[in-house]
Amino acid sequence: MLDVGRHPNIELLAYSEVENVEGEAGDFKVTVRRKTRYVEEDKCTGCGACAEKCPTVVPDAFNEGLGDRRAIYSYFAQGIPSTHTIDPDHCRQLNGKKCGICAKTCQAEAINFDKEDRIVELNVGAIIVAAGYDVFDPGRIPEYRYNEIPNVVTAIEFERLLSASGPTGGHMDRPSDRAVVAEIEALEKKVRKSQKALDKLEEKFNEPSAAFYKKFQAGQYQDDEDRQKWADKYAAHLAVIEPLEELKKKAAGFTVAKRLAFIQCVGSRDFRFYPFCSGYCCMHSIKEAMIAHEHEPETTSSIFGMDIRAVGKGFEEYKIRGGNNSNITYVRGRVAEITEGPNNNPIVTYEDTRERKVKSQEFDMVVLATACAPIKGIAALAKTVGVELDKYNFIKTSSLSPVDTTTPGIFVCGCAESPMDVPESVAQASSAAERAAEIAFQPELEKEKAVA
């Protein structure tokens, strides 16, 4: 990313959308909408002081909603450009309320609430589409109960949990436990607030609330209005404290997730959704299980799959290492359903095709290896750019010209073409660059010919 940001021959138009493409190979006119960030990009230094002060808290899409960010934010810490962006859906100032705290905080004077979208026209010789993929929504598979069981997460959510810079700082805290902890925090806040009010009343009447309340319940002060309010407040306070103590007791028993299940082909190799194999998910499950084991050596993982497709360079060796050193068991079979057992523990029911038995096993957390789905908006993008899609909505190519789309001068690479892992995406990116360069430099060749 850094290299892209720094290269003198690269003009980076982030936070932008292609709106129109005209012309032909060697001479395309591309219209790009540069969406406003409400931040002057050349002034913003990315220091983040604004986000520290912004009062509006929003779920963080980068952390798969598992953490929070502010209405002014940088997409993620290492993002290039490091420019911050105001989220117009949530910013108070942009929604007619009085705020502007970020503008006051910013010492670089980069905030500009009046900044509008800009339209840029580009003239280019060739186009490369590298719009990537989306993760399949496992909520569509009812028997896996992704939306109902909190401790069933997707692989990408699990990546965020594993990340040292993620919402849990790399601890394998279970979502159900995190929800309880969040509830405790909310209740504690409430308690602190009511305690403050009670403190004032105690001072006023010079008596502890508990002692007073006993008397009140015994029938004293029934026609004293102020004391009546005090009693109500105290009752409400108690009503919070009790569940809070319960929750705290529960939370004291929480440990990180140690028994993990990884379920392969969630939405892939499945006729109801995507019949194809997503290629990279076997490896990322092994990788995630290995990292989880590095974080917590007691972790055991079961990977449930039809085949474990470790086909890249060094992959089979990696898979075997995972089995030998990281407590990974590979289970051949398809998972029939996931239910919720005691302590929010998911229970996986599957058919063990080796032993020919239906079995159930309890885990702390289940990770779904979701399919590589065509990216949302790909149909619109393909139409704008003028290329055809295949029957799954990936950009159409052929085996013998793997990065050429159906339109000359327009090329594709990475998961926009079909599911593939990082090394293959990188290799394909070079292939697409080659094809594009052949076009982009063509006019020069022709000029040479004309002269000769």
């Binding site: 670089a108 019949p275 194999c277 497709r309 086909v311 013998l400 599911p419 360069a437």
Partner: protein
């Protein structure tokens, strides 16, 4: 020496980074502290040193204060060093008289709760930076011309694709193939999955394009025998039928492919009833005998075992393809594939896999601990789902063997001084981020020479390798940062070659000089990693801007 030091005028710029640094460290104290350091003649604090204003202040300082060394104490050199360096250059100061001190990522950010201790640490860091800055020497970027001609070794589909890509960009290419004909593995195959393209037709089409192109010189039955030089300036000896050639080359692509493993002694392999997929390809090409009614294929023969732990990626697709071709030629033939995992990754393969099931190819999983047995008329396999042994009639048994490295891969590896991995495949610079580059500049790889690849992948990689290799060709020269290894003390060098063996970039060589065997640094190939200087027990090698003296000065400054 001491009187020379008098002239050194160091400017220290302390960046607040908004509140990222200033919020956690005592900047006034750092300013006062810096002013008292030796040779420091100017200290300034900036809100953002990297902003336009901040940069102008640095430039102004250089000009007005006559600074001849600049230290910026701010964030990380990973993102900002190039900017500060070039700004110094713009103000007329040699860019290598600049030193960066990281008081943010490695100080204020990690000591947010400890203002006092954090400030003390920042002082240490600045003192060290200043001590080093005083000893910095000017450097000039290193430039070297590039011979605009590529060499491709290996004329399979990957090599031919790379060759055509170079030629289409207008570059001259020399293609060296050791066999009589171009085409590689394609020459031995019938139809290519998943599209069922005719392999010979594809090979012919490519060969025609390659041999007909004016920019391409093809040598078949030829061998590269010597490679000297470095990126942009290789001298390559090629042994051809028409005599030896010596050609100047700018960049090199390795596309030597692989060969199909021959399973001598496995599963009763005899080349007649028990054959390999490669041998089956020939039968299919010529038309399968109609007597063949029962075919059993066994996967992972010679792969995914102790000796050859890797999965060869393409044999499962090959088996599925050939199973369908058998059913096409002999519609009532029964074909069973005994497998461990069907590696039909991706969109096209999985589609072909499904298609084959519709066409009634049978799949039976086997456990390597309990492998199938080939008997005179049948193959016996333990069927896990049925829970018992099964006998499958077999008048043809096809073994799916892996693609293994070429026998002479190590020769090529030595010629080019590039590494091969434990399986004999060529090893890329970085498995994830540089799949088609060697660590050594100027040499690239693609196709099955890197790791078994199917045609789609071999073509993509051929294009990709050509793309990577075209960068120096397009620029016409290579410019590298002068922070590289130099033979600072030639007399000390004993020519032992320890450093040469350890250099990951092939940037060192031993030369016979008047003074005897001495190491020579190929400056454009050196990446300044420092392995050689750290290894040399004679302290003959040194890294520019990281000399022993400079590092020692930093250590001393820290200890004081």
């Amino acid at each position: 020496m001491p009187d020379k030091k008098e002239d050194i005028r160091i400017g220290v710029f302390l960046c607040h980074c908004g509140s990222n640094i200033a919020g956690y460290l005592n900047m006034e104290e750092l300013e006062e502290f810096s002013k008292k350091l030796p040779h420091v003649t100017f200290v300034q604090r900036n809100l953002y040193s990297c902003s336009e204003g901040g940069i102008n202040e640095i430039k102004k300082g250089i000009k007005e204060q006559n600074l001849n060394r600049v230290v910026v104490a701010s964030c990380t050199p990973r993102t900002h060093e190039p900017l500060f360096r070039s700004s110094c250059g713009e103000a007329g100061l040699n860019p290598y008289l600049f030193e960066m001190v990281n008081i943010r990522d490695q100080c204020s950010w990690v000591h947010m709760q400890e203002k006092e201790d954090g400030t003390t640490k920042a002082k240490d860091l600045i003192r060290m930076g200043v001590a080093k800055a005083a000893l910095l020497e000017p450097q000039e970027p290193i430039m070297s011309e590039v011979q605009i001609r590529a060499l491709v070794i290996g004329g399979g589909i990957a090599g031919m694709t790379a060759t055509l890509a170079f030629a289409n960009r207008g570059y001259e290419v020399v293609l060296v193939e050791k066999e009589e004909a171009l085409g590689g593995m394609l020459n031995h195959l019938s139809k290519l999955g998943p599209t069922m393209t005719d392999a010979s037709a594809l090979a012919e089409e490519k060969v025609r394009a390659v041999t007909g192109h004016s920019k391409i010189t093809v040598f078949t039955k030829a061998k590269v025998t010597l490679v000297q030089g470095f990126i942009g300036k290789y001298k390559v000896d090629i042994e051809t039928e028409s005599g030896n050639k010596n050609i100047d080359i700018g960049v090199i692509v390795v596309a030597t492919g692989g060969r199909a493993f021959v399973p001598e002694g496995l599963y009763g392999y005899d080349g007649k009833r028990v054959i390999t997929q490669l041998e089956l390809e020939v039968l299919l090409k010529n038309g399968l005998a109609s007597a063949i009614k029962n075919v059993v294929m066994i996967q992972c023969v010679g792969s995914r075992n102790e000796e050859r732990p890797y999965c060869s990626r393409i044999c499962c697709q090959t088996a599925v393809k050939n199973a369908m071709l058998i059913r096409e030629q002999n519609p009532d033939a029964k074909v069973s594939i005994l497998y461990r995992d069907m590696q039909m990754y991706g969109v096209e393969n999985e589609e072909m896999f499904r298609d084959s099931k519709v066409k009634r190819v049978r799949y039976i999983n086997y456990d390597p601990a309990n492998p199938p047995e080939v008997e005179p008329d049948n193959v016996r396999v333990y069927h896990a789902l049925l829970g018992r042994d099964m006998d499958l009639a077999a008048d043809l048994v096809v073994l799916s063997t892996p693609i293994v490295a070429q026998d002479d891969a190590n020769v090529v590896s030595q010629l080019l001084r590039v590494p091969i991995d434990e399986n004999g495949f060529f090893m890329e610079g970085h498995v994830k981020l540089k799949p088609l580059d060697f660590a050594t500049s100027g040499i690239f790889l693609c196709g099955s020479a890197r790791f078994p690849a199917n045609i789609r992948e071999a073509v993509a990689q051929g294009l990709g390798a050509a793309s990577r290799a075209s960068i120096p060709l397009a620029k016409g020269s290579v410019v590298v940062e002068p922070i590289i290894s130099v033979l600072a003390n030639e007399d000390a060098c004993r020519g032992c070659g320890l450093c040469v063996a350890l250099c990951p970039y092939g940037a060192l060589e031993i030369q016979n000089t008047e003074k005897g065997r001495k190491v020579h640094v190929i400056d454009v190939a050196c990446k300044g990693c420092g392995v050689c200087a750290a290894t040399c027990y004679q302290h003959a090698l040194s890294i520019n801007s990281f000399t022993d003296k400079q590092i020692e000065a930093q250590v001393e400054a820290f200890l004081n």
